[in-house]
Amino acid sequence: MSEPTKAPPAAAGRAATKKELPEHFKAYKHVWVFIEQERGQVHPVSWELMGAGRKLADKLKVDLAAVVIGPPGEAVQHAAAESFCYGADLAYIVADGVLTDYRNEAYTKALTDVVNTFKPEILLLGATTLGRDLAGSVATTLLTGLTADCTELDVDADGSLAATRPTFGGSLLCTIYTLNYRPQMATVRPRVMPMPDRVEKPASRIIEHKLGLVEEDIVTKVLSFIPDRDSAKSNLAYADIVVAGGLGLGSPENFQLVKGLAAVLGADFGCSRPLVQKGWVTSDRQIGQTGKTIRPKLYIAAGISGAIQHRVGVEGADLIVAINTDKNAPIFDFAHVGIVTDAIRLLPALTEAFRARLSPHSRDRIAS
């Protein structure tokens, strides 16, 4: 009984109508983006959201603000300063030693307090592990609506946030409103929105807000942090080139062909969901609605049918190439270039052909 299973418009009850906004919500203005940073590193999804937030703020003719929460020090100041280069008109900072590591209790209080004090109309967060943990707590504390994993954000004629997200396992899209509550909250997954250009700009309005918590108030303690080993970590979401394989490859051995081509192209590799379910490939390589969203310059899909749940994860790619034996496979409906052939035979040939084309010898040829 969560959002997407809700009845379509005709059946919607009286909640579906926009009432006069309650008096205590009328002060809510401006668009905010939560700048997610962990261990001194800003998650790129935050800048992607600044790009989306800028458009909403311009349409509403209000300010775009960044909210940075973390330990006092350079990282937080730098994140706030950077937010101006990505379009912020102002930034709120909550800096306190107890915010060094992400902990739900402290971060929920920090974000809830700034919202209650400065009253944004729209609040956007990344649908990351941190963002989803925080957004759920904050929305429940504020008793407002939260639309998860949006793929599109817009402001409609009467100024309401129209948040579009996949529903029914990705087969359909739905547009969700939070008409009579404030703020209107939404999360967006990494790579769904394009990265805006960074434009050098000095930091201007920065507003610091006190947290008002001491370590003793916080029950949860961080014992340690085990970073992912770099070699094992996939950077799929941010890769320029991705080669992926699907069930059409037939066996885990054949999946090696995908890795082979990826290696020659300096690409990352991924897969469709059934391969994860079968245990052929680890889950961090899954592309799609319940996996990663990617935006590479080049995406090569071998033996992938192109189900809607896969499609939503790759639509941002500049050039989609599909290799499939079935000329009617749905992937050809959204690929840019298609080839109807056996991927198990084509992949090794393609790897060799690229190797030959891109060898140092031919590189010299291009240079001259």
Partner: protein, 281 residues
């Protein structure tokens, strides 16, 4: 130790079809399953129960037919099942869902003893929001551990729990106090095969069934569609791309060469870009 596991009965969405003309969901004949992520939560709960003794109560909000999923949870070894069902719950978004579930957990607590841990799956496969766990925690004032990959240790005497939580760049090892809410990550364990005795017990088991009133819901307007701040305005099919893929014709040359030729023709800059990214020679 008393552990409550919230589960959801979901349509096996892999088998859902959208009506090509009306854009509505064709639910007929679509089998239902326990939300797969919830099974990892259930197994984690059963392991703790087996280690420390006590009881596992499974709880679901859903239509009367959700009883099937509760019975299935009993066959895996859960001790008790509670079905929260009422037409007032229909159309609930995550905020309204957490109101109903939190109220029911309070009632479970009064009736069968206070839970030490409330488990949920990371998210559901039909809603995909991952918001219900944190929402329940907030409403009950419980500490929360989300995206838990591993429960390292529970100390029922000191009333502490130590767990590994997935974060973006690694794993956070956290220690907090009981009672708390845990959302389990996928692939963290494997749900057991139920014992024959459990299957027999499940078939005969009395499912505790509560209406909104039975569960102690005080404000019905906070439930279901009425209690949902979010409103679904429009449901539609993703638009098809105007042009179909350019199909590579490889009648006159090897398919690999024909494909590469087509790629470089479409994106003249691609060759140069590939040369800079490529390695492994």
């Amino acid at each position: 130790m008393h552990i409550v596991v919230c589960i959801k009965q979901v349509p096996d969405s892999a088998q859902i079809r959208v009506h090509p003309v009306t854009n509505t969901i064709m639910r007929q004949g679509v089998p239902t399953i326990i939300n797969p992520y919830d099974l990892f939560a259930l197994e984690a709960a059963l392991q703790l129960r087996d280690k420390f003794g006590g009881e596992v109560t499974v709880l679901t909000m859903g239509p009367p037919s959700a009883e099937d999923s509760l019975r299935r949870a009993l066959t895996y070894g859960a001790d008790r099942a509670v079905l929260l069902t009422d037409r007032f719950f229909a159309g609930a978004d995550t905020l309204a869902t957490t109101y109903a579930l939190a109220t029911a957990i309070r009632k479970v607590s009064e009736t069968f003893g206070a839970p030490d841990i409330v488990f949920t799956g990371k998210q559901t496969i039909d809603g995909d929001t991952a918001q219900v766990g944190p929402g329940i925690a907030k409403r009950l004032g419980l500490l929360q551990l989300t995206y838990v990959a591993k429960i390292r240790e529970v100390d029922p005497v000191a009333r502490t729990i130590e767990a590994e939580r997935r974060s973006e760049g690694g794993v956070q090892v956290l220690k907090t106090k009981l009672p708390c809410l845990v959302t389990m990550l996928e692939a963290t364990n494997e749900i057991r095969r139920g014992a024959m005795a459990d299957a027999l017990r499940a078939a005969r088991a009395q499912i505790v069934t509560w209406s909104a009133k039975d569960a102690g819901v005080e404000d019905i307007s906070k439930c279901g569609l009425k209690g949902s701040p979010t409103i679904v305005k429009r449901v539609f099919a993703p638009s098809a791309r105007a042009e179909k893929a350019t199909m590579v014709d490889f009648s006159s040359r090897a398919p690999a060469d024909a494909l590469i030729e087509e790629l470089f023709k479409r994106q003249p800059k691609l060759e140069a870009e590939l040369t800079t990214s490529a390695h492994g020679f």
